[in-house]
């Protein structure tokens, strides 16, 4: 069976100019297939987050080309990119998770309210479902700021799932989680890719987590060194 390409980079390079000119990404070309659960590993400072920001369409300052779902992303207007993110990409950030003044439930609902495809009641139902999936339904009505880091991280994952995006990108999604919750997340990701056909790209430090994924990409000094 030929696999369908969902995301593709063509010779992506990125420079930082502060404090000195520095090539953070060097000629990155790779493909991600539909329904794949892929992990990205590498030493700290190797450029994983930098690459993930470009893949997420938030960083537009790079050389090369990014194609998502057959559509060329490079060069699109920022309002278009925002709409693409809203609909097609769920994102879990490394340290920044939730809007502290809103309840966990609202945090999960907001991207769906923005998308505006379902009624608020339906969205709320879905949000509860995602929170249940990640084992934090009981925290739903608490303000996000009252939760522990690990709980916040799981709410953030639930939020990334709410619009049923084609691709879910995570930067160290289990960084704050104990082994029990890590395995919940791992289980969830497998379920999403296998049963719902969603694609998952996760940056991780956790070798066990990486081993459990479909494919591992390794980075070093801004280059892709090894794809299994």
């Amino acid at each position: 069976m030929r696999k369908k390409i969902i995301l593709q980079t063509k010779q992506i390079s990125k420079y930082f100019y502060q404090p000195v000119k520095f090539k953070a990404l060097d000629d990155i070309s790779f493909e991600v297939f539909d329904s794949e659960f892929i992990t990205m590993i590498g030493k700290s400072g190797s450029g994983k987050s930098t690459l993930l920001y470009i893949l997420s369409t938030m960083d537009t300052d790079y050389e090369g080309e990014l194609i998502i779902g057959g559509e060329k992303i490079t060069g699109q207007k920022s309002d278009n990119l925002a709409a693409i993110r809203n609909k097609n990409i769920g994102f879990v950030f490394q340290f920044h998770y939730l809007l502290p003044e809103f309840s966990c439930l609202k945090n999960v609902m907001i991207p769906a309210l923005k998308l505006g495809k379902l009624s608020p009641q339906e969205i709320e139902e879905q949000a509860y479902q995602k929170l249940t999936l990640l084992g934090i339904k009981d925290q739903a009505l608490k303000p996000a700021s009252k939760l522990s880091g690990g709980q916040q991280q799981r709410v953030a994952i639930a939020r990334a799932l709410i619009n049923q995006p084609k691709i879910i990108m995570c930067d160290e999604p289990t960084g704050n989680l104990d082994s029990k919750n890590t395995s919940i997340v791992l289980e969830t990701f497998h379920q999403l890719s296998q049963e719902l056909g969603q694609t998952i790209i996760a940056v991780t430090h956790d070798n066990d987590f990486a081993e459990a994924s479909n494919r591992i990409i390794e980075m070093a000094d801004g280059k892709l060194i090894n794809t299994i």
């Binding site: 987050s49 920022s78 309002d79 993110r85 950030f93 490394q94 003044e101 907001i110 309210l113 923005k114």
Partner: protein, 411 residues
């Protein structure tokens, strides 16, 4: 749907920072309140002083202006010296020719409310050896009353008595006091050309101008013509009142084309008080505008602070698919809500201040402070309040829209 998320986020921001929201709104309240109050005060005072003026002056006066004698050698070529020897006032009489036609023409104009002829006579008021010089207006008392509302200024007597008493006279209270004359007393008047008449005081009036009270009197038109030894066609002025006194300058320009006589609007005749009026307007206007700007700065500050504290939130919103426009929309909504709350209370504050001030007794013929509710000022103040707060929110909101989420996440 989209509107709802943005509103919900805006409301949450405002409600979780109630104290700042209230303080910023309060700034707008004070700004708008004082602004409306001050402008109302200016408008009220101007209206009051105009009203006082119109008790003695018409909107437009048409009269024969003095003309100087022509040069003996007319200026022919450029550079030639023009010689004028002993320039003299050249008009023999200051009468208006064919005034009936002018008046009839004027009455056809739909913008004109009242037209009344007048003969101004310089004269002396005598009682025994006391003497005051002054000016008598020979008028049709009914017309003149329609124009100046003389009856409302009467301390004693009745203007209608002039109709039955041909040698009746209405005098200012200053004249009465100085010559020690009471109602129905007799008074001698001597015109500038020496005609003497015995008049009967049928009324005593008091305007807001003591100088006028000390010089002015009203007599019948026929008597004034006799005082000048002239026929019944003799007139010195035609007084005109129009619908909107503020349009007098334009209207007088129009009239200038129709008559050879001098047409003078009340604004031109009272240059001094007009410039006082302007100074007052500019002064209070700029003070209240400054207060408004301070209020706007309060809103700007709060929105700016909210944005600084919410960089992380803005980054998350943008990452999850909110566009720059949505971010602007959220913060504009926040300032709009504060603007609406602040402005509404500002309107209330202004009403309270106006109500309070208008109850202050100041004496004089107005008795109470000349200020009133001007709906147009409230409307302008309301719109201005909302616009200014929107503007004050817009500037930082644009900055927020430009925030690059990546830069926030990398920190």
């Amino acid at each position: 749907m989209k509107l709802n998320v943005n509103s919900e986020i805006a409301l949450t921001h405002l409600l979780t920072r109630k104290k700042q929201t209230i303080i910023a709104s309060l700034g707008v309240t004070v700004g708008i309140g004082i602004f409306i109050f001050m402008i109302s005060m200016v408008v009220g005072f101007n209206r009051y002083s105009d009203e006082a003026l119109f008790k003695t002056e018409s909107h437009i006066r048409i009269y024969q202006d003095d003309t100087l004698s022509r040069p003996l050698i007319p200026k022919t070529k450029l550079g030639n010296t023009t010689i004028i020897i002993n320039p003299k006032i050249a008009n023999l009489s200051n009468t208006l020719l064919n005034p009936k036609k002018i008046i009839a023409d004027l009455k056809k104009n739909e913008n004109i409310v009242t037209v009344t002829p007048q003969v101004s006579v310089s004269l002396f008021y005598n009682n025994g050896i006391s003497q005051i010089n002054g000016v008598a207006s020979g008028v049709n008392i009914i017309d003149a009353n329609e124009m100046f509302n003389i009856q409302s200024t009467m301390l004693a007597g009745d203007i209608r008595n002039l109709l039955s008493t041909s040698n009746g006279i209405l005098i200012g209270v200053g004249i009465a006091e100085k010559l020690n004359i009471k109602l129905y007393d007799n008074i001698n008047i001597t015109s500038s050309i020496g005609v003497v008449k015995m008049m009967k005081v049928e009324g005593i009036f008091k305007t807001s101008n003591s100088n006028i009270d000390l010089t002015k009197s009203y007599i019948n038109l026929a008597i004034s013509q006799q005082l000048m030894k002239e026929s019944s066609s003799y007139l010195t002025d035609i007084l005109v009142n129009i619908k909107d006194p503020n349009k007098a300058p334009e209207f007088s320009k129009q009239l200038k084309n129709l008559t050879i006589y001098k047409v003078e609007d009340w604004q031109a005749a009272n240059e001094q008080s007009m410039s006082n009026k302007k100074t007052r307007q500019v002064m209070l206007g700029s003070i209240s505008l400054a207060i408004l700007l301070v209020a706007a700065f309060g809103i700007y500050n709060i929105i700016n602070m909210t944005i600084k504290e919410k960089l992380n939130d803005i980054a998350i919103l943008k990452a999850t698919g909110f566009s720059g426009k949505d971010v602007i929309n959220i913060f504009l909504k926040e300032s709009l809500i504060m603007g609406i709350i602040g402005t509404s209370f500002g309107l209330l504050l202004a009403s309270g201040l106006i109500k309070f001030i208008s109850g202050i007794y100041i004496g004089g013929d107005r008795e109470y402070f000349p200020i009133g509710f001007e709906s147009s000022i409230f409307i302008i103040g309301g719109i201005l309040g909302i616009l200014i707060t929107l503007g004050a929110g817009y500037i930082p909101a644009i900055g927020a829209a430009k925030i690059d989420p990546i830069e926030i996440f990398r920190k």
